[in-house]
C-alpha cells in the first residue's frame, strides 16, 4: 500500500496538471531532490564497521594484534641461527596465500591473535535472531551480526585512522574502479515510501570535491557503467520509513580494490542497506555476509606483506580468524561456515545518474 505522503504527492501533481501548470518543471511538484520519481547517490566514504572506545580497553583488553614485521621477529629472532629464505620469507608468503589451520609456533608458543571482546558493535541483525554471539548496537538494538568485527576490531589498520581505514577510501575516491552508485526509483518521498526500487551501479566519473578538498558535494553527474560494470548492476526492493531506507536482503556485488594495480570484487550475501536519506546525501550501513575465502583473497591481493605491515595486519592470522568466526552459509558437505557477518559504514552524496548508450565491441581489433 502506498504511503499517505505518496498519495498526497501524487494528488498535488494531478491538481497542478488540472490547473494547466503541467508545463512547469516536474521537479517543482516533487519532494526535494527527487526528479522524475528518481534520486541518485554516489558513494564517498566506506569503512568496515569497527566500534571503538577511547582507550580500546573494553573491546581490546589484550591490546592490538601483531603485524607481519612483529610476527616475523618473533618467529625468526636475531639469535645467530642461520636460516634460509625458504623457511622464513617464502614460508610466511605461503601462509599468506594458503594459511595453515593453526598459528605458527615460536619458542614461547603459538603466535597469539586477539579477538574483540565487549558486547557492542555496529551492524545489522542479519538473521532476525538474537544469538549468544550477537552484539548490541551502540543505540541498543540487540541481535547485531558482525563477526567480522570480532576478527578485525583489534587490528590497528582497521580502526579509525589506521592504514586500511584510510586507504580503502583514498583509492575509492581517487580512482574510478570503485565508484559505486545507488539509484532509487519509483520514489515519491524521501521520508516515507513503502515501495521503492534501489539499483546499484558502478559509476564512471570522478567525485565532485569541495574547494577545500575536505568534502564531496552533491549535484554532480555520474555515468552508470553499463558495459564493463554489468556484473555490478543489482536491483533491490526497499521502503523508506521516517527517512530511513531499508532494502530487502539480496546478493550484491561491488568493485572493491583498496589500492592501485588491483581490481578485486566483493560479494555481499543476503545484503541489506539501511540508509538515512536526505536530498543531498545518504548515510548508514550495508550489512551482509561476506565469503571468507574471497575476503581473504582480496585482503592478500590488495595488501602485500609490506603494505599490510603499515597497519599491523597479518593476513595469515586474519585469514585463520575469519574461518574461526565464520557464522553463515555452511558448506553442504563439510558443514563449515563459509561466510562471516559484517557491516560497512557508508556515506553518499546526491548525484544525477546518467545512462549513456555505449557501443559494444566484445574484442580488441588490432589495426595495422
Amino acid at each position: 500500500m502506498r504511503s499517505l505522503c505518496t498519495y498526497f504527492s501524487r494528488s498535488i501533481v494531478a491538481a497542478a496538471m488540472a490547473m494547466g501548470l503541467a508545463a512547469l518543471p516536474y521537479y517543482g511538484a516533487h519532494a526535494a531532490g527527487i526528479t522524475n520519481r528518481t534520486i541518485g547517490y554516489v558513494l564517498t566514504n566506506k569503512y568496515w564497521a569497527v566500534y571503538t572506545t577511547a582507550d580500546a580497553k573494553i573491546e581490546c583488553p589484550h591490546g592490538f594484534n601483531d603485524g607481519p614485521r612483529e610476527q616475523f621477529a618473533k618467529l625468526f629472532p636475531n639469535d645467530g641461527v642461520k636460516r634460509t629464505l625458504l623457511e622464513t620469507q617464502l614460508a610466511r608468503e605461503a601462509d599468506t596465500w594458503f594459511p595453515a589451520s593453526l598459528e605458527e609456533k615460536t619458542a614461547q608458543g603459538p603466535l597469539p591473535f586477539y579477538y574483540v571482546g565487549g558486547s557492542t558493535a555496529i551492524g545489522l541483525n542479519l538473521d532476525g535472531k538474537v544469538g549468544p554471539n550477537d552484539f548490541t548496537s551502540p543505540e541498543g538494538e540487540p541481535g547485531i551480526d558482525n563477526q567480522l568485527y570480532r576478527v578485525i576490531g583489534c587490528v590497528a589498520g582497521f580502526r579509525p585512522g589506521g592504514a586500511y581505514y584510510f586507504f580503502m577510501n583514498e583509492y575509492m575516491e581517487r580512482y574510478a574502479f570503485n565508484r559505486v552508485l545507488i539509484e532509487i526509483t519509483n520514489v515519491d518521498s524521501l521520508v516515507n515510501d513503502d515501495d521503492v526500487t534501489v539499483t546499484v551501479y558502478r559509476g564512471l566519473d570522478p567525485l565532485l570535491g569541495s574547494a577545500d578538498g575536505k568534502n564531496f558535494l552533491p549535484g554532480g553527474s555520474q555515468r552508470a557503467d553499463e558495459r564493463w560494470g554489468q556484473r555490478y548492476i543489482t536491483r533491490l526492493k526497499g521502503k523508506i520509513v521516517n527517512g530511513i531506507l531499508t532494502t530487502e536482503p539480496a546478493n550484491i556485488l561491488l568493485p572493491y580494490a583498496d589500492t592501485f594495480d588491483c581490481n578485486t570484487d566483493q560479494h555481499f550475501k543476503a545484503a541489506r542497506l539501511r540508509l538515512k536519506l536526505t536530498p543531498t546525501g545518504a548515510e548508514g550501513l550495508l550489512g551482509a555476509y561476506v565469503d571468507v575465502d574471497e575476503w581473504h583473497r582480496n585482503m592478500a591481493i590488495n595488501w602485500t606483506t609490506h603494505h599490510a605491515s603499515y597497519g599491523q595486519m597479518s593476513v595469515p592470522s586474519i585469514a585463520r580468524a575469519l574461518r574461526q568466526m565464520a557464522d553463515g552459509y555452511p558448506d553442504p558437505v563439510t558443514g563449515k561456515n563459509t561466510a562471516i557477518s559484517s557491516a560497512i559504514q557508508m556515506k553518499f552524496v546526491q548525484a544525477y545518474i546518467l545512462h549513456p548508450t555505449l557501443p559494444h565491441r566484445p574484442t580488441v581489433a588490432l589495426a595495422r
Binding site: 620469507q89 592501485f260 583473497r297 588490432l366 589495426a367 595495422r368
Partner: protein
C-alpha cells in the same frame, strides 16, 4: 648533418601486413608475425646490429646477434639496485648467497634457494665486453669493469647479454614495458629510436606497440578516409580531433603530412590520417575510440600472434586474453631479492618462489590452483613469443626429452602461462595481482588486452 638514417625492416618472417582497413570487424584479427619496423639507424660499434623482436620491435644486438640490455638504477623500498650512469658495472662474478633485504619487509641475510647451482650475475648477464682497442661511437662508450676489462655502454649504462637468449631477435631476458616501483630491478633491452615524429610516442601495451601522441593519448585511423586524405569533417570533428602537423613537419617513411584544408596540416601514418578521440579525455593509451565503428587504434607493431584456440573475454575493466574455455590467461613474474636481482620466473630458475605463492610450497596444490595451460601435442608456435615447451608439472622445470608425466604447455616469452582455479567462469580475473607486491615481484598478472580502469590507477 644527420647522425641517424631511417631504416625500415619489412616482412621479417615473410608475412604481409594487414592494412588498417582490414580490421574493421568486431572480431579480433590474429596479429601477424613481425612485418614492418621503422627505426632511426645510429652508428654502432663494429659488428653490432639491429634485430627485430615481435614484442620489443627493433633492438640492438652484439656481433653474435645477442640482444643487448642495460640494468638501469632502480629504487626498491630499502635501497637501490642496478647500474649508475657512466660508472663501472655492479654486475660481478661474485655469487650472491643471501637476500639483500631491499624488498621490504623481510630483513637481509637469509640463504637463497638452490645455492649450490646459483650462478653469478655475469654468468646470467654476460657483460658486452669490448676489445682493448675499441673506440667510442656516438652514444656507445666504454666503461672499465672492476677487473680492468672494457665493457660497452650505451647512453652511459653498461651493456649485457642474457643467458636466456639463444637466437638473434630473442629478447627473453627483459622487456621495455614499464613496470611499477615495487617490481624487481629488471634489465631492459635497448634499441634504436623508432622513426616517428617528435609529436608521437609508442606505448607498449598488451595489444602491441601502440602509437600515442606526446601526452600519451591514443591516436586512431578511420576506414572512411582515403589514401592520405581525411574525410572527417563536420559532425565527425565533434568526436575526432585531427593530429596537427607543425609547419616545419616533413613527410618521411611511413609518415605523410597532408593538408586537410588550406594551411591546416595533419599527420598520416601509412597513408591513414590520424586523430585523437575527444571522449578519451586525455586518458593514457585508451582503446575507447576503437568502439566507434570503422575506427582503429594504430600500432607500429601489433602484438605477436597468440595461439589460435585462445579467446578474448570481457571483464569488469576491459578485455583479457583467455584459453579456449574462456579461462583468463596469467603470466607469472618473479625477481629475487639478491643484490643482483636475478629473475626467477623461467623454468630453469629456482621454483621455490613460485611454489610458495601458487601452492603454499605444495607442488600438487600449486598444480591444482594455478595449472599451466596445456597445448595440443601438435601445436605450432604462432609467433616467436608464443611457443610450446615441455615441463615437469611438479617441479616446474623443463622436462628432459621423453620424461614420463611431462606436460606440453603454452609459453609466452619462454615462460609457461597459467589459469587460476579461483576463476569460476569466463571474464573472471580473481587471480590478477596474486602474489608478492601485486604479482610483480613473485606472482601472477592477468594478460590484459584492454584495461579501461588502468588497474585502478588511472
Amino acid at each position: 648533418m644527420r647522425s641517424c638514417q631511417a631504416v625500415s625492416v619489412t616482412g621479417l618472417l615473410g608475412l604481409a601486413l594487414l592494412l588498417a582497413g582490414g580490421a574493421a570487424s568486431a572480431r579480433h584479427e590474429q596479429p601477424s608475425a613481425v612485418g614492418h619496423v621503422d627505426y632511426l639507424s645510429e652508428p654502432m660499434p663494429p659488428g653490432f646490429r639491429v634485430t627485430i623482436n615481435d614484442i620489443e620491435g627493433a633492438v640492438f644486438a652484439d656481433q653474435n646477434g645477442k640482444t643487448l640490455y642495460t640494468w638501469p638504477l632502480h629504487k626498491l623500498r630499502n635501497g637501490t639496485v642496478g647500474d649508475y650512469k657512466n660508472t663501472a658495472s655492479n654486475c660481478t662474478s661474485e655469487v650472491d648467497t643471501v637476500n639483500s633485504g631491499l624488498e621490504s619487509p623481510t630483513p637481509a641475510g637469509y640463504a637463497l634457494p638452490e645455492l649450490a647451482s646459483r650462478k653469478s650475475c655475469v654468468q646470467v648477464w654476460p657483460p658486452a665486453l669490448a676489445a682493448s682497442d675499441a673506440k667510442p661511437v656516438g652514444k656507445w662508450t666504454l666503461i672499465k669493469r672492476h677487473d680492468g676489462a672494457k665493457q660497452w655502454a650505451y647512453d652511459g649504462y653498461p651493456l649485457y647479454t642474457s643467458m636466456l637468449d639463444r637466437q638473434p631477435g630473442d629478447v627473453l631476458g627483459g622487456t621495455k614495458q614499464k613496470l611499477p616501483g615495487d617490481a624487481p630491478g629488471v634489465r631492459v633491452p635497448i634499441g634504436p629510436p623508432p622513426n616517428i615524429p617528435p609529436a608521437f610516442e609508442i606505448a607498449e601495451v598488451g595489444t602491441g606497440r601502440m602509437l600515442v601522441n606526446y601526452s600519451g593519448e591514443s591516436v586512431y585511423s578511420w576506414d572512411g578516409d582515403g589514401v592520405d586524405k581525411s574525410n572527417c569533417v563536420g559532425a565527425c570533428l565533434t568526436k575526432w580531433a585531427p593530429v596537427p602537423a607543425a609547419e616545419e613537419s616533413q613527410s618521411h617513411g611511413d609518415w605523410t603530412v597532408i593538408e586537410r584544408s588550406p594551411g591546416i596540416r595533419q599527420w598520416a601514418f601509412r597513408k591513414k590520417p590520424l586523430y585523437t578521440y575527444i571522449p578519451d579525455d586525455k586518458r593514457p593509451h585508451g582503446l575507447g575510440g576503437s568502439d566507434e565503428s570503422g575506427w582503429h587504434n594504430v600500432y607500429t607493431l601489433p602484438a605477436p600472434a597468440w595461439p589460435s584456440e585462445f579467446t578474448q573475454q570481457a571483464t569488469h575493466i576491459g578485455i583479457v586474453l583467455a584459453d579456449s574455455h574462456g579461462r583468463t590467461i596469467y603470466v607469472y613474474r618473479c625477481g629475487d631479492d639478491a643484490l643482483d636481482q636475478q629473475a626467477c620466473d623461467y623454468p630453469s630458475a629456482p621454483q621455490e618462489y613460485r611454489l610458495a605463492v601458487c601452492g603454499g610450497g605444495d607442488a600438487a596444490r600449486c598444480l591444482r590452483t594455478w595449472p599451466p595451460v596445456l597445448a595440443p601435442k601438435n601445436a605450432k608456435a604462432p609467433s616467436r613469443s608464443w611457443t610450446t615447451i615441455d615441463i615437469d608439472p611438479l617441479t616446474g622445470h623443463f622436462a628432459t626429452p621423453g620424461q614420463p608425466g611431462a606436460i606440453h604447455v603454452w609459453a609466452y616469452r619462454g615462460r609457461p602461462v597459467y589459469t587460476f582455479a579461483g576463476d569460476p567462469g569466463p571474464g573472471d580475473v580473481n587471480g590478477d595481482a596474486w602474489g608478492v607486491f601485486y604479482g610483480y615481484r613473485n606472482g601472477f598478472k592477468a594478460f590484459w588486452l584492454r584495461d579501461d580502469f588502468y588497474t585502478n590507477a588511472g
